[in-house]
Protein backbone atom coordinates (compact mmCIF):
# COMPACT_ATOMS: atom_id res chain seq x y z
CA UNK A 1 0.00 0.00 0.00
CA UNK A 2 1.34 3.46 -0.90
CA UNK A 3 2.14 5.99 1.79
CA UNK A 4 -0.63 8.29 0.53
CA UNK A 5 -3.10 5.44 0.78
CA UNK A 6 -1.85 4.65 4.27
CA UNK A 7 -2.22 8.30 5.29
CA UNK A 8 -5.84 8.16 4.21
CA UNK A 9 -6.30 4.83 5.90
CA UNK A 10 -4.93 6.22 9.17
CA UNK A 11 -7.69 8.85 9.13
CA UNK A 12 -10.30 6.22 8.35
CA UNK A 13 -9.05 3.91 11.12
CA UNK A 14 -9.12 6.77 13.63
CA UNK A 15 -12.71 7.49 12.61
CA UNK A 16 -13.55 3.80 13.05
CA UNK A 17 -11.96 3.74 16.49
CA UNK A 18 -13.91 6.77 17.66
CA UNK A 19 -17.17 5.52 16.23
CA UNK A 20 -16.73 2.13 17.89
CA UNK A 21 -16.06 3.77 21.22
CA UNK A 22 -18.83 6.36 20.86
CA UNK A 23 -21.40 3.70 20.01
CA UNK A 24 -20.60 1.52 23.00
CA UNK A 25 -20.02 4.44 25.37
CA UNK A 26 -17.05 2.74 27.00
CA UNK A 27 -13.50 1.72 26.15
CA UNK A 28 -10.17 3.51 25.82
CA UNK A 29 -9.74 6.25 23.22
CA UNK A 30 -6.39 7.73 24.34
CA UNK A 31 -4.27 4.61 24.07
CA UNK A 32 -6.08 3.34 20.97
CA UNK A 33 -5.15 6.52 19.12
CA UNK A 34 -1.55 6.55 20.35
CA UNK A 35 -0.87 2.95 19.29
CA UNK A 36 -2.39 3.19 15.81
CA UNK A 37 0.74 3.89 13.75
CA UNK A 38 2.62 1.13 15.60
CA UNK A 39 -0.05 -1.38 14.62
CA UNK A 40 -0.24 0.01 11.08
CA UNK A 41 3.51 -0.40 10.63
CA UNK A 42 3.18 -3.98 11.85
CA UNK A 43 0.14 -4.98 9.81
CA UNK A 44 0.77 -3.01 6.60
CA UNK A 45 4.56 -3.14 6.41
CA UNK A 46 6.22 -5.77 8.57
CA UNK A 47 4.12 -8.75 9.60
CA UNK A 48 3.27 -11.80 7.52
CA UNK A 49 -0.39 -12.61 8.10
CA UNK A 50 -3.15 -14.21 6.05
CA UNK A 51 -6.68 -12.95 6.70
CA UNK A 52 -8.11 -15.99 4.90
CA UNK A 53 -6.18 -18.29 7.24
CA UNK A 54 -5.90 -16.57 10.65
CA UNK A 55 -4.38 -19.66 12.26
CA UNK A 56 -1.61 -20.02 9.64
CA UNK A 57 1.16 -21.73 11.56
CA UNK A 58 4.02 -19.68 10.09
CA UNK A 59 2.36 -16.28 10.48
CA UNK A 60 4.01 -13.56 12.50
CA UNK A 61 2.32 -13.07 15.86
CA UNK A 62 1.15 -9.86 17.52
CA UNK A 63 0.51 -9.76 21.23
CA UNK A 64 -1.20 -6.50 22.15
CA UNK A 65 -0.05 -6.62 25.73
CA UNK A 66 -1.67 -3.22 26.34
CA UNK A 67 -4.94 -4.95 25.53
CA UNK A 68 -7.08 -1.88 26.22
CA UNK A 69 -5.80 -0.44 22.94
CA UNK A 70 -7.70 -3.15 21.06
CA UNK A 71 -10.11 -0.85 19.18
CA UNK A 72 -7.12 0.12 17.00
CA UNK A 73 -6.29 -3.56 16.44
CA UNK A 74 -9.91 -4.43 15.71
CA UNK A 75 -10.24 -1.64 13.14
CA UNK A 76 -7.08 -2.84 11.39
CA UNK A 77 -8.07 -6.52 11.41
CA UNK A 78 -11.43 -5.57 9.88
CA UNK A 79 -9.68 -3.50 7.23
CA UNK A 80 -7.34 -6.42 6.49
CA UNK A 81 -10.37 -8.66 5.95
CA UNK A 82 -10.25 -10.90 9.00
CA UNK A 83 -13.96 -10.09 9.55
CA UNK A 84 -16.51 -7.56 8.25
CA UNK A 85 -16.12 -3.91 9.20
CA UNK A 86 -19.75 -3.88 10.36
CA UNK A 87 -18.70 -6.03 13.31
CA UNK A 88 -16.89 -3.02 14.74
CA UNK A 89 -20.15 -1.31 15.60
CA UNK A 90 -20.99 -4.08 18.08
CA UNK A 91 -17.77 -3.74 20.05
CA UNK A 92 -18.27 -4.72 23.71
CA UNK A 93 -21.86 -5.85 23.10
CA UNK A 94 -23.22 -9.19 24.27
CA UNK A 95 -22.64 -11.85 21.65
CA UNK A 96 -20.14 -9.84 19.57
CA UNK A 97 -16.74 -11.45 19.06
CA UNK A 98 -15.06 -8.10 19.73
CA UNK A 99 -14.50 -8.18 23.48
CA UNK A 100 -13.54 -5.27 25.70
CA UNK A 101 -10.04 -6.74 25.74
CA UNK A 102 -8.61 -9.10 23.08
CA UNK A 103 -9.82 -12.71 23.05
CA UNK A 104 -8.09 -15.03 20.59
CA UNK A 105 -10.80 -17.65 21.02
CA UNK A 106 -13.44 -15.23 19.74
CA UNK A 107 -11.80 -12.84 17.29
CA UNK A 108 -10.13 -14.05 14.07
CA UNK A 109 -6.63 -12.61 13.79
CA UNK A 110 -6.13 -12.01 17.50
CA UNK A 111 -3.12 -14.04 18.65
CA UNK A 112 -3.33 -13.75 22.44
CA UNK A 113 -5.69 -12.91 25.27
CA UNK A 114 -4.47 -9.78 26.96
CA UNK A 115 -5.81 -6.94 29.03
CA UNK A 116 -4.40 -7.87 32.39
CA UNK A 117 -1.24 -5.81 32.06
CA UNK A 118 2.16 -7.46 32.02
CA UNK A 119 0.91 -10.85 30.93
CA UNK A 120 1.23 -10.34 27.18
CA UNK A 121 4.98 -9.96 27.43
CA UNK A 122 5.32 -13.47 28.86
CA UNK A 123 2.92 -14.95 26.33
CA UNK A 124 5.05 -13.42 23.59
CA UNK A 125 8.19 -14.89 25.16
CA UNK A 126 6.53 -18.31 25.13
CA UNK A 127 5.56 -17.92 21.47
CA UNK A 128 9.05 -16.83 20.46
CA UNK A 129 10.61 -19.63 22.48
CA UNK A 130 8.24 -22.12 20.82
CA UNK A 131 9.29 -20.80 17.39
CA UNK A 132 12.95 -21.41 18.28
CA UNK A 133 12.02 -24.80 19.70
CA UNK A 134 10.23 -25.78 16.49
CA UNK A 135 12.88 -24.12 14.31
CA UNK A 136 10.13 -22.01 12.76
CA UNK A 137 10.98 -18.66 11.20
CA UNK A 138 8.05 -16.51 12.31
CA UNK A 139 8.53 -13.42 14.43
CA UNK A 140 6.66 -12.36 17.54
CA UNK A 141 5.84 -8.76 18.42
CA UNK A 142 4.49 -7.56 21.75
CA UNK A 143 3.15 -4.03 22.07
CA UNK A 144 3.52 -2.75 25.61
CA UNK A 145 2.02 0.28 27.30
CA UNK A 146 4.24 2.56 29.33
CA UNK A 147 2.20 2.29 32.53
CA UNK A 148 2.42 -1.46 31.98
CA UNK A 149 6.18 -1.33 32.53
CA UNK A 150 5.36 -0.88 36.22
CA UNK A 151 4.25 -4.53 36.28
CA UNK A 152 7.04 -6.74 37.58
CA UNK A 153 6.10 -9.45 35.11
CA UNK A 154 7.43 -7.26 32.25
CA UNK A 155 10.90 -7.51 33.74
CA UNK A 156 10.63 -11.23 34.41
CA UNK A 157 9.66 -11.66 30.77
CA UNK A 158 12.48 -9.39 29.61
CA UNK A 159 15.05 -11.35 31.59
CA UNK A 160 13.89 -14.61 30.02
CA UNK A 161 13.81 -13.10 26.50
CA UNK A 162 17.49 -12.22 26.78
CA UNK A 163 18.38 -15.47 28.53
CA UNK A 164 16.94 -17.50 25.67
CA UNK A 165 18.43 -15.13 23.07
CA UNK A 166 15.05 -14.53 21.46
CA UNK A 167 16.08 -12.50 18.43
CA UNK A 168 12.72 -13.41 16.89
CA UNK A 169 11.00 -11.34 19.59
CA UNK A 170 10.41 -7.59 19.60
CA UNK A 171 8.93 -5.57 22.43
CA UNK A 172 7.44 -2.31 21.16
CA UNK A 173 6.67 0.41 23.67
CA UNK A 174 3.81 2.83 23.08
CA UNK A 175 5.42 5.59 25.11
CA UNK A 176 2.80 8.29 25.43
CA UNK A 177 3.84 9.17 28.98
CA UNK A 178 0.38 9.00 30.48
CA UNK A 179 -1.59 6.44 32.46
CA UNK A 180 -4.95 6.44 34.21
CA UNK A 181 -3.93 8.41 37.27
CA UNK A 182 -1.76 10.90 35.36
CA UNK A 183 1.78 11.17 34.03
CA UNK A 184 3.98 8.09 34.41
CA UNK A 185 6.52 10.20 36.23
CA UNK A 186 3.97 11.26 38.83
CA UNK A 187 2.36 7.86 39.32
CA UNK A 188 5.51 5.73 39.34
CA UNK A 189 8.47 6.98 37.41
CA UNK A 190 9.80 4.64 34.73
CA UNK A 191 13.29 6.10 34.66
CA UNK A 192 15.23 5.73 31.43
CA UNK A 193 13.42 2.96 29.59
CA UNK A 194 16.08 2.76 26.87
CA UNK A 195 18.81 2.17 29.44
CA UNK A 196 16.63 -0.31 31.32
CA UNK A 197 15.90 -2.51 28.33
CA UNK A 198 19.53 -2.26 27.19
CA UNK A 199 20.59 -3.41 30.65
CA UNK A 200 18.16 -6.31 30.37
CA UNK A 201 19.95 -7.43 27.22
CA UNK A 202 17.82 -5.96 24.44
CA UNK A 203 19.00 -4.26 21.25
CA UNK A 204 17.23 -0.92 21.58
CA UNK A 205 15.77 1.48 19.04
CA UNK A 206 14.16 4.86 19.66
CA UNK A 207 11.73 6.18 17.06
CA UNK A 208 9.03 8.78 16.48
CA UNK A 209 5.98 6.71 17.29
CA UNK A 210 3.61 8.12 14.68
CA UNK A 211 6.10 7.70 11.83
CA UNK A 212 5.15 4.38 10.26
CA UNK A 213 8.31 4.20 8.13
CA UNK A 214 10.59 4.88 11.08
CA UNK A 215 8.81 2.22 13.10
CA UNK A 216 8.99 -0.29 10.25
CA UNK A 217 12.68 0.45 9.71
CA UNK A 218 13.39 -0.28 13.37
CA UNK A 219 11.34 -3.47 13.15
CA UNK A 220 13.31 -4.56 10.09
CA UNK A 221 16.75 -3.76 11.51
CA UNK A 222 18.76 -6.93 11.80
CA UNK A 223 19.49 -8.18 15.31
CA UNK A 224 21.16 -11.42 16.21
CA UNK A 225 21.30 -13.31 19.48
CA UNK A 226 19.23 -10.86 21.50
CA UNK A 227 15.65 -9.58 21.65
CA UNK A 228 14.75 -6.20 20.23
CA UNK A 229 13.16 -3.23 21.98
CA UNK A 230 11.61 -0.37 20.02
CA UNK A 231 10.60 2.66 22.03
CA UNK A 232 7.94 4.60 20.10
CA UNK A 233 7.48 8.16 21.31
CA UNK A 234 3.75 8.71 20.91
CA UNK A 235 1.00 11.12 21.86
CA UNK A 236 -1.94 9.84 23.85
CA UNK A 237 -5.15 10.67 22.00
CA UNK A 238 -3.17 11.41 18.78
CA UNK A 239 -5.27 13.09 16.09
CA UNK A 240 -7.94 14.65 18.27
CA UNK A 241 -6.73 17.94 19.71
CA UNK A 242 -8.77 17.90 22.89
CA UNK A 243 -7.68 14.33 23.67
CA UNK A 244 -4.00 14.76 22.90
CA UNK A 245 -1.76 14.59 25.95
CA UNK A 246 -4.74 14.35 28.29
CA UNK A 247 -4.73 11.41 30.71
CA UNK A 248 -8.45 12.01 31.29
CA UNK A 249 -9.14 10.43 27.90
CA UNK A 250 -7.57 7.12 28.93
CA UNK A 251 -10.92 5.47 29.41
CA UNK A 252 -13.80 7.89 29.24
CA UNK A 253 -16.68 7.86 26.76
CA UNK A 254 -17.39 10.77 24.41
CA UNK A 255 -20.67 12.66 24.50
CA UNK A 256 -22.38 13.59 21.23
CA UNK A 257 -20.74 17.00 20.98
CA UNK A 258 -17.28 15.60 21.64
CA UNK A 259 -17.78 12.84 19.11
CA UNK A 260 -18.94 15.25 16.41
CA UNK A 261 -16.07 17.62 17.14
CA UNK A 262 -13.54 14.79 16.97
CA UNK A 263 -14.92 13.45 13.69
CA UNK A 264 -14.98 16.91 12.16
CA UNK A 265 -11.40 17.46 13.14
CA UNK A 266 -10.28 14.15 11.68
CA UNK A 267 -12.04 14.81 8.39
CA UNK A 268 -12.09 12.01 5.83
CA UNK A 269 -15.06 10.04 4.63
CA UNK A 270 -18.29 9.74 6.56
CA UNK A 271 -18.73 6.46 8.31
CA UNK A 272 -21.66 4.18 7.95
Amino acid sequence: MSDTTLDGLAVQLRRDILEMLYRCQSGHPGGSLSVLEILMALYYKTMKTDPSNPGWEDRDRLVLSKGHGCPALYAILANKGFYPREDLWNLRQLGCHLQGHPDMAKTPGVDANTGSLGQGASIAVGMALAAKHKKASYRVFAVLGDGELQEGQIWEASMSAAHYKLDNLTFILDHNGLQIDGANDEVMGLGNVMDKFAAFGFECFDVAGHDRDAIAAALEASVSGKPKFVRCRTVKGKGVSFMEGNAGWHGRPMNAQEFQAAMKELGGKQNG
Partner: protein, 313 residues
Protein backbone atom coordinates in the same frame (compact mmCIF):
# COMPACT_ATOMS: atom_id res chain seq x y z
CA UNK B 1 5.85 -55.21 51.24
CA UNK B 2 4.49 -52.83 48.65
CA UNK B 3 6.78 -50.35 46.96
CA UNK B 4 7.07 -46.90 48.44
CA UNK B 5 7.78 -43.82 46.38
CA UNK B 6 7.37 -40.08 46.54
CA UNK B 7 4.66 -38.68 44.30
CA UNK B 8 7.08 -36.03 43.05
CA UNK B 9 9.52 -38.71 41.90
CA UNK B 10 6.65 -40.50 40.18
CA UNK B 11 5.73 -37.17 38.55
CA UNK B 12 9.25 -36.65 37.18
CA UNK B 13 9.52 -40.24 35.98
CA UNK B 14 6.13 -40.05 34.28
CA UNK B 15 7.11 -36.83 32.52
CA UNK B 16 10.30 -38.42 31.22
CA UNK B 17 8.30 -41.41 30.02
CA UNK B 18 5.64 -39.21 28.43
CA UNK B 19 8.31 -37.12 26.73
CA UNK B 20 9.63 -40.22 25.00
CA UNK B 21 6.28 -40.89 23.34
CA UNK B 22 4.98 -37.34 22.82
CA UNK B 23 7.39 -34.89 21.21
CA UNK B 24 5.07 -31.94 21.81
CA UNK B 25 5.68 -32.16 25.55
CA UNK B 26 8.01 -29.51 26.97
CA UNK B 27 8.73 -29.00 30.66
CA UNK B 28 9.17 -25.67 32.41
CA UNK B 29 10.40 -25.11 35.94
CA UNK B 30 11.15 -22.17 38.19
CA UNK B 31 14.47 -23.13 39.76
CA UNK B 32 13.01 -26.11 41.58
CA UNK B 33 13.72 -28.89 39.10
CA UNK B 34 15.47 -30.96 41.74
CA UNK B 35 12.56 -30.54 44.15
CA UNK B 36 9.65 -30.97 41.77
CA UNK B 37 11.72 -33.73 40.11
CA UNK B 38 11.30 -32.33 36.62
CA UNK B 39 15.06 -32.87 36.64
CA UNK B 40 14.24 -36.47 35.68
CA UNK B 41 12.67 -35.16 32.46
CA UNK B 42 15.54 -32.74 31.94
CA UNK B 43 18.06 -35.58 32.14
CA UNK B 44 16.25 -37.52 29.40
CA UNK B 45 15.13 -34.62 27.21
CA UNK B 46 17.44 -31.67 27.87
CA UNK B 47 16.42 -29.92 24.62
CA UNK B 48 12.81 -29.82 25.80
CA UNK B 49 13.41 -28.47 29.28
CA UNK B 50 13.21 -24.74 30.00
CA UNK B 51 14.17 -23.19 33.29
CA UNK B 52 12.53 -19.83 33.96
CA UNK B 53 14.34 -19.07 37.18
CA UNK B 54 12.50 -17.63 40.14
CA UNK B 55 9.77 -16.03 38.07
CA UNK B 56 6.60 -18.08 38.31
CA UNK B 57 4.30 -15.50 36.76
CA UNK B 58 6.46 -15.29 33.65
CA UNK B 59 6.77 -19.07 33.49
CA UNK B 60 2.98 -19.52 33.45
CA UNK B 61 2.54 -16.80 30.82
CA UNK B 62 5.28 -18.26 28.64
CA UNK B 63 3.65 -21.68 29.01
CA UNK B 64 0.48 -20.14 27.55
CA UNK B 65 2.46 -18.77 24.61
CA UNK B 66 4.04 -22.17 24.01
CA UNK B 67 0.64 -23.86 24.16
CA UNK B 68 -0.71 -21.31 21.63
CA UNK B 69 2.13 -22.48 19.39
CA UNK B 70 1.14 -26.14 19.48
CA UNK B 71 3.37 -27.43 22.26
CA UNK B 72 2.13 -29.15 25.45
CA UNK B 73 3.92 -27.43 28.31
CA UNK B 74 4.06 -28.93 31.80
CA UNK B 75 5.03 -26.09 34.16
CA UNK B 76 6.23 -26.99 37.63
CA UNK B 77 7.07 -25.28 40.87
CA UNK B 78 5.72 -25.61 44.41
CA UNK B 79 1.92 -25.67 44.67
CA UNK B 80 1.87 -22.45 46.66
CA UNK B 81 3.92 -20.43 44.17
CA UNK B 82 2.14 -21.87 41.15
CA UNK B 83 -1.46 -21.49 42.26
CA UNK B 84 -0.80 -18.55 44.54
CA UNK B 85 1.80 -16.22 43.13
CA UNK B 86 0.89 -17.01 39.52
CA UNK B 87 -2.85 -17.27 40.15
CA UNK B 88 -3.85 -14.51 37.81
CA UNK B 89 -1.56 -15.69 35.04
CA UNK B 90 -3.18 -19.11 35.30
CA UNK B 91 -6.59 -17.44 35.32
CA UNK B 92 -6.14 -14.94 32.51
CA UNK B 93 -3.30 -16.17 30.29
CA UNK B 94 -4.16 -19.87 30.53
CA UNK B 95 -7.63 -20.85 31.68
CA UNK B 96 -9.55 -17.90 30.20
CA UNK B 97 -8.62 -19.10 26.72
CA UNK B 98 -8.47 -22.80 27.64
CA UNK B 99 -4.76 -22.91 26.79
CA UNK B 100 -3.35 -26.42 26.75
CA UNK B 101 -1.04 -25.96 29.72
CA UNK B 102 -0.48 -28.51 32.49
CA UNK B 103 0.92 -27.62 35.86
CA UNK B 104 2.23 -30.33 38.10
CA UNK B 105 2.83 -28.50 41.34
CA UNK B 106 4.61 -30.28 44.13
CA UNK B 107 5.09 -29.80 47.86
CA UNK B 108 1.38 -29.37 48.33
CA UNK B 109 -0.38 -29.50 51.69
CA UNK B 110 1.04 -29.87 55.19
CA UNK B 111 3.24 -32.80 54.22
CA UNK B 112 5.98 -30.43 53.05
CA UNK B 113 6.68 -30.59 56.76
CA UNK B 114 9.66 -28.77 58.16
CA UNK B 115 9.63 -25.83 55.71
CA UNK B 116 6.58 -24.56 57.58
CA UNK B 117 3.49 -22.51 56.90
CA UNK B 118 5.07 -20.20 54.31
CA UNK B 119 5.51 -23.20 52.00
CA UNK B 120 2.49 -25.33 52.91
CA UNK B 121 -0.30 -24.73 50.42
CA UNK B 122 -3.60 -25.52 52.09
CA UNK B 123 -5.71 -23.39 49.73
CA UNK B 124 -4.46 -24.34 46.25
CA UNK B 125 -7.37 -26.65 45.39
CA UNK B 126 -9.81 -23.90 46.32
CA UNK B 127 -7.97 -21.39 44.13
CA UNK B 128 -7.96 -23.68 41.13
CA UNK B 129 -11.45 -25.07 41.65
CA UNK B 130 -13.17 -21.74 41.05
CA UNK B 131 -11.41 -21.20 37.72
CA UNK B 132 -13.55 -22.24 34.72
CA UNK B 133 -12.04 -24.73 32.22
CA UNK B 134 -9.76 -26.16 34.92
CA UNK B 135 -9.25 -29.87 35.54
CA UNK B 136 -7.79 -30.84 38.92
CA UNK B 137 -6.14 -34.16 39.71
CA UNK B 138 -5.04 -35.03 43.24
CA UNK B 139 -3.28 -38.39 43.01
CA UNK B 140 -3.03 -40.61 46.08
CA UNK B 141 0.18 -42.52 45.31
CA UNK B 142 2.91 -42.94 42.73
CA UNK B 143 0.91 -45.21 40.43
CA UNK B 144 -1.96 -42.75 40.31
CA UNK B 145 0.45 -39.84 39.75
CA UNK B 146 1.78 -41.53 36.64
CA UNK B 147 -1.74 -42.03 35.33
CA UNK B 148 -2.61 -38.40 36.08
CA UNK B 149 0.35 -37.17 34.02
CA UNK B 150 -0.59 -39.28 31.01
CA UNK B 151 -4.28 -38.39 31.34
CA UNK B 152 -3.42 -34.68 31.55
CA UNK B 153 -1.62 -34.84 28.22
CA UNK B 154 -4.79 -36.19 26.60
CA UNK B 155 -6.99 -33.35 27.84
CA UNK B 156 -7.26 -30.23 25.68
CA UNK B 157 -7.06 -27.49 28.30
CA UNK B 158 -5.48 -26.58 31.60
CA UNK B 159 -4.87 -29.34 34.11
CA UNK B 160 -3.57 -28.92 37.65
CA UNK B 161 -1.87 -32.00 39.10
CA UNK B 162 -1.43 -31.62 42.86
CA UNK B 163 1.73 -33.49 43.79
CA UNK B 164 2.74 -34.36 47.35
CA UNK B 165 6.32 -34.62 48.57
CA UNK B 166 6.47 -37.56 51.04
CA UNK B 167 7.51 -41.11 50.22
CA UNK B 168 4.35 -43.17 50.61
CA UNK B 169 3.26 -46.69 49.91
CA UNK B 170 2.07 -47.36 46.38
CA UNK B 171 -1.18 -49.14 47.15
CA UNK B 172 -3.02 -48.79 43.84
CA UNK B 173 -1.91 -50.87 40.91
CA UNK B 174 -1.19 -50.29 37.26
CA UNK B 175 -4.63 -51.71 36.50
CA UNK B 176 -6.58 -49.58 38.98
CA UNK B 177 -8.82 -47.44 36.77
CA UNK B 178 -8.08 -43.77 36.37
CA UNK B 179 -10.88 -42.15 34.43
CA UNK B 180 -10.77 -38.35 34.79
CA UNK B 181 -13.90 -37.18 36.60
CA UNK B 182 -14.84 -40.65 37.85
CA UNK B 183 -14.23 -41.39 41.51
CA UNK B 184 -13.01 -44.87 42.47
CA UNK B 185 -14.80 -46.86 45.15
CA UNK B 186 -11.81 -48.59 46.74
CA UNK B 187 -13.71 -50.31 49.53
CA UNK B 188 -17.33 -51.32 49.85
CA UNK B 189 -19.18 -50.57 53.07
CA UNK B 190 -22.55 -50.44 54.76
CA UNK B 191 -22.63 -47.73 57.40
CA UNK B 192 -20.62 -44.73 56.25
CA UNK B 193 -18.62 -43.53 53.26
CA UNK B 194 -15.25 -41.87 53.65
CA UNK B 195 -14.65 -39.59 50.68
CA UNK B 196 -10.95 -38.90 50.41
CA UNK B 197 -8.37 -37.41 48.08
CA UNK B 198 -4.57 -37.43 47.77
CA UNK B 199 -2.54 -38.72 50.67
CA UNK B 200 -5.71 -39.02 52.77
CA UNK B 201 -6.96 -41.95 50.70
CA UNK B 202 -4.54 -44.36 52.34
CA UNK B 203 -5.38 -42.91 55.76
CA UNK B 204 -9.07 -43.48 55.00
CA UNK B 205 -8.44 -47.11 54.05
CA UNK B 206 -6.54 -47.66 57.30
CA UNK B 207 -9.39 -46.05 59.25
CA UNK B 208 -11.93 -48.25 57.47
CA UNK B 209 -9.91 -51.32 58.45
CA UNK B 210 -9.97 -50.29 62.13
CA UNK B 211 -13.68 -49.50 61.98
CA UNK B 212 -14.32 -52.97 60.61
CA UNK B 213 -12.81 -54.31 63.84
CA UNK B 214 -15.55 -52.47 65.68
CA UNK B 215 -18.28 -53.82 63.42
CA UNK B 216 -18.63 -50.71 61.32
CA UNK B 217 -18.39 -51.09 57.57
CA UNK B 218 -16.95 -47.94 56.01
CA UNK B 219 -16.76 -47.51 52.27
CA UNK B 220 -13.84 -45.51 50.83
CA UNK B 221 -14.28 -43.36 47.76
CA UNK B 222 -11.10 -42.03 46.14
CA UNK B 223 -11.83 -38.69 44.48
CA UNK B 224 -8.67 -38.35 42.38
CA UNK B 225 -10.35 -35.73 40.19
CA UNK B 226 -11.58 -32.75 42.17
CA UNK B 227 -12.77 -31.05 39.00
CA UNK B 228 -14.84 -32.07 37.13
CA UNK B 229 -16.27 -33.40 40.38
CA UNK B 230 -17.98 -36.79 40.40
CA UNK B 231 -21.09 -35.55 42.17
CA UNK B 232 -23.03 -38.55 40.92
CA UNK B 233 -20.78 -40.99 42.79
CA UNK B 234 -20.78 -38.85 45.92
CA UNK B 235 -24.55 -38.45 45.90
CA UNK B 236 -25.02 -42.16 45.31
CA UNK B 237 -22.73 -42.95 48.23
CA UNK B 238 -24.54 -40.48 50.48
CA UNK B 239 -27.91 -41.98 49.63
CA UNK B 240 -26.64 -45.52 50.00
CA UNK B 241 -24.77 -45.16 53.28
CA UNK B 242 -26.57 -42.21 54.88
CA UNK B 243 -23.35 -40.84 56.35
CA UNK B 244 -20.38 -39.19 54.66
CA UNK B 245 -17.01 -38.07 56.00
CA UNK B 246 -14.75 -36.09 53.67
CA UNK B 247 -11.04 -35.91 54.35
CA UNK B 248 -8.36 -33.91 52.60
CA UNK B 249 -4.92 -32.45 53.21
CA UNK B 250 -6.27 -29.00 52.40
CA UNK B 251 -8.50 -26.38 53.95
CA UNK B 252 -12.06 -27.55 54.56
CA UNK B 253 -12.99 -24.33 52.75
CA UNK B 254 -13.04 -24.59 49.00
CA UNK B 255 -11.63 -28.06 48.49
CA UNK B 256 -13.00 -31.61 48.55
CA UNK B 257 -15.20 -31.01 51.60
CA UNK B 258 -16.77 -27.98 49.97
CA UNK B 259 -17.35 -29.89 46.75
CA UNK B 260 -19.09 -32.67 48.69
CA UNK B 261 -21.17 -30.12 50.62
CA UNK B 262 -22.22 -28.41 47.39
CA UNK B 263 -23.24 -31.79 46.02
CA UNK B 264 -25.26 -32.85 49.04
CA UNK B 265 -26.94 -29.50 49.71
CA UNK B 266 -30.64 -29.80 49.00
CA UNK B 267 -30.27 -33.28 47.56
CA UNK B 268 -29.35 -35.56 50.41
CA UNK B 269 -30.28 -35.92 54.05
CA UNK B 270 -27.09 -37.86 54.76
CA UNK B 271 -25.11 -36.97 57.87
CA UNK B 272 -21.93 -35.23 56.82
CA UNK B 273 -18.69 -34.10 58.36
CA UNK B 274 -15.58 -32.50 56.84
CA UNK B 275 -12.07 -33.35 57.95
CA UNK B 276 -9.22 -31.21 56.74
CA UNK B 277 -7.37 -28.12 57.79
CA UNK B 278 -9.79 -26.02 59.80
CA UNK B 279 -9.22 -22.56 58.35
CA UNK B 280 -5.70 -22.10 59.69
CA UNK B 281 -2.15 -22.00 58.35
CA UNK B 282 0.39 -24.77 58.68
CA UNK B 283 3.63 -24.72 60.64
CA UNK B 284 6.96 -26.54 60.82
CA UNK B 285 7.03 -30.13 61.93
CA UNK B 286 7.46 -33.66 60.69
CA UNK B 287 4.63 -34.57 58.29
CA UNK B 288 3.36 -37.32 60.62
CA UNK B 289 3.37 -34.93 63.58
CA UNK B 290 1.53 -32.31 61.53
CA UNK B 291 -1.11 -34.82 60.44
CA UNK B 292 -1.67 -35.61 64.13
CA UNK B 293 -1.81 -31.97 65.14
CA UNK B 294 -4.22 -31.05 62.36
CA UNK B 295 -6.52 -34.06 62.74
CA UNK B 296 -5.60 -35.95 59.58
CA UNK B 297 -4.74 -39.44 60.90
CA UNK B 298 -6.68 -42.70 60.59
CA UNK B 299 -7.59 -42.31 64.28
CA UNK B 300 -9.18 -38.93 63.57
CA UNK B 301 -11.09 -40.33 60.60
CA UNK B 302 -12.29 -43.25 62.69
CA UNK B 303 -13.40 -40.92 65.44
CA UNK B 304 -15.28 -38.71 62.99
CA UNK B 305 -17.11 -41.73 61.57
CA UNK B 306 -18.05 -43.00 65.02
CA UNK B 307 -19.33 -39.61 66.12
CA UNK B 308 -21.33 -39.20 62.94
CA UNK B 309 -22.95 -42.58 63.55
CA UNK B 310 -23.70 -41.72 67.18
CA UNK B 311 -21.34 -44.38 68.53
CA UNK B 312 -18.98 -44.10 71.46
CA UNK B 313 -15.51 -43.02 70.41
Amino acid sequence: MAESKSLRVAYGEALAELGAVNDKVVVLDADLAHATMTSLFQAKHPERFYNFGLAEANMMGAAAGMAHSGLIPFASTFALFGTGRAYEQIRNSIAYVNANVKFGLSHSGLSVGEDGGSHQSVEDIALMRVVPNMTIFVPCDSAETRKAVFAAAEIDGPVYIRVARPVVETFTGPDTPFVPGTANLLREGKDVCIVATGLMVKEALTAAESLAGRGIEAAVLNVHTIKPFDSEAVLAAANRYGAVVSVEEHSVIGGLGSAVAETLAGKSAAKFCRLGIQDRFGQSGKPADLFKAYGLTPAHIQEACLKLLGKNV
